[in-house]
């Protein structure tokens, strides 16, 4: 008997127009707002001076993340998995609650497993505290919020901690 996947709970999707328009709008927003894109596509989002008004989910998404790696790939992945946007957005507030005072950065990373080709978004909380303290805070985040959201992610999102 083969293993069968868990049937995911109902997920309310966000409205997204055609892929090219979405991609272009987000990319223009990033370039117009922040202006610093290096040759690898990495974007420093530490300043917020843009005048463009994108979709409300994406606006809060990119305004809250200090660094996005491979921005074009992340945008593409989030377009294809737009059900993740509300979870990523909510994560900002939740992380702030549990890592107050020790949070240095919030990063989004597109992770790929070379053995399977599977991809997922990892939301990384970069902290300036001890591993023991980070673990206590992270466990609180997990138990009080993340484990419930994890069910909705279809294995396409993780939350993790890194250290300065």
């Amino acid at each position: 008997m083969s293993f069968t996947n868990v049937t995911s709970t109902a997920i309310e999707d966000t409205h997204v127009e055609d892929k090219q328009s979405f991609y272009t709008r987000i990319w223009d927003f990033i370039k117009n707002s922040f202006g610093t894109i290096d040759h690898t596509g990495n974007v420093d989002l530490s300043s917020t001076t843009g005048e463009t008004t994108p979709d409300r989910y994406v606006e809060s998404l990119f305004l809250n993340f200090a660094l996005v790696s491979n921005a074009n790939e992340i945008v593409s992945f989030l377009y294809e998995n737009s059900f993740l946007l509300p979870i990523v957005q909510e994560a900002v507030g939740e992380v702030g609650k549990y890592f107050e005072g020790v949070e240095e950065d919030l990063r989004l990373r597109l992770f790929e497993d070379p053995e399977t080709g599977d991809k997922e978004i990892i939301l990384i909380v970069v902290v300036n505290t001890s591993p023991d303290d980070a673990l206590k805070r992270f466990e609180a985040l997990r138990q009080n919020w993340w484990l419930e959201e994890f069910d909705k992610t279809q294995w396409k999102m993780s939350v993790d901690v890194d250290f300065v």
Partner: protein, 127 residues
Amino acid sequence: MSEQQFTWSDFLELSNNFLTELHDNPKDALTRAKLRTIVSRTYYACYHKALRLLEKKQRFEFDGPGYHKQVIEAMSYLNKDVAERLKRLHNARVDADYHADVPFNLSKVDFIVEQGRMLYHELREIY
């Protein structure tokens, strides 16, 4: 001297020993390689414990590629908390074994190993 049989938990002990060495001598010439080895072996200790648990429960058969993913997804039926921990540990192991551009420092590996210990303990409790 009789030879003790290898058990997967030996990987946890190895990881702890390496970590202690690195805390004592953080400028070890092989620090970066040791940090990745610690992460990788910590994951495999937990992975094999999880696999044995699932086989013992005789509720799942695994086949085809993506064995690690199958174990993690099967574990989610038994214990979601454990499955989520195992998934994150697996991601760390993939980074350690495949992504040379992802940095590992002592704090990060301390964090990962402590989670591995917690996970192994939880798997033992379920088992």
